[in-house]
Symmetry: C2
Subunit: 155 residues, 2 copies
Amino acid sequence: MQTEISQLLSDTVIALFQANGKLLEWGDAFTAPYGLTSARWQILGAIALASHQLTAPQIAEQMGVSRQGAQKQLNLLLEDGLLEKLPNPSHLRSPLYRLSTQGSALFERVNQAWQVHAAKSGAAFTEQALATTLHTLRLIAQLHEMPPQGEHDET
Amino acid sequence: MQTEISQLLSDTVIALFQANGKLLEWGDAFTAPYGLTSARWQILGAIALASHQLTAPQIAEQMGVSRQGAQKQLNLLLEDGLLEKLPNPSHLRSPLYRLSTQGSALFERVNQAWQVHAAKSGAAFTEQALATTLHTLRLIAQLHEMPPQGEHDET
DNA sequence: CCAACAATGAAAACCAGTTGTCAATTATTC
DNA sequence: GAATAATTGACAACTGGTTTTCATTGTTGG
């Protein structure tokens, strides 16, 4: 029995996949002039917008990706000199990460360009529609939350 | 100048990424009992719901992935016996794909389970909210459409 | 007809993520 | 304080996608 709402939900999920693909592709092109990719930009953002310095597992957590996945990008960004490690006073093995001078300047530039874009394309939406979409997306994510059976994270 | 709407847009994009991740993860778990993954399911769906038989490039187009990416999965699904090639009367090299008996039965089962889930979780949303979300997502996708400079697809 | 060009499948290299394993460090508990 | 458990970084293998390249097949124009 295909109800109206369940059909809408199916369509929404498909639209979500497509929007995700377009955004990643767009983000890659958008950040390419700065020598970045969507993935790198996302990590820089996570670090830049954090209120304090973060360890690798904290960054992964905050981004919703695996610890190892975040670490991979962190190592690459370190090689590129966009990040730097600080010794973690309370953890010998697990350094804190912050933007290097270079990384900070770069992120600043990208972020400013993004703000311009967001302000411009924001004109295509009503505040009401965006608020509803945001809420619905969060609900969808929550509804499809998987029981955490990862490494040994939860109790 | 961070307007209210551009902040909402940024938050929505982040929520979109997270929902996408959760859905893929959920889809993998959901289809695992049937021996599928999110990716395989998506391809079966594209073929099953098409009004006529499709070639590999058509399937890729319809899914919004690259020709080569779709081909990869098609070959795997062929190996698994879920699809079969039909000789294409108007194209020697480019066969048409359709679900095999086995693939058809499998998709039927998965799809029925999905319908149950969609009907159940649809209860969490109002029709209005879903419609707005669907529309907004399509608008986001459209706004971030990249100028096609691919192989030599577009005119 | 046939020469140029487009579309197709196949394969390889790569990107970005995942899980699993392992050794080392940190935290907990008795 | 020592044994045990959890956290962490590094590495390898895998998934699913991308682009690039190549040989082959269709298509089209002279």
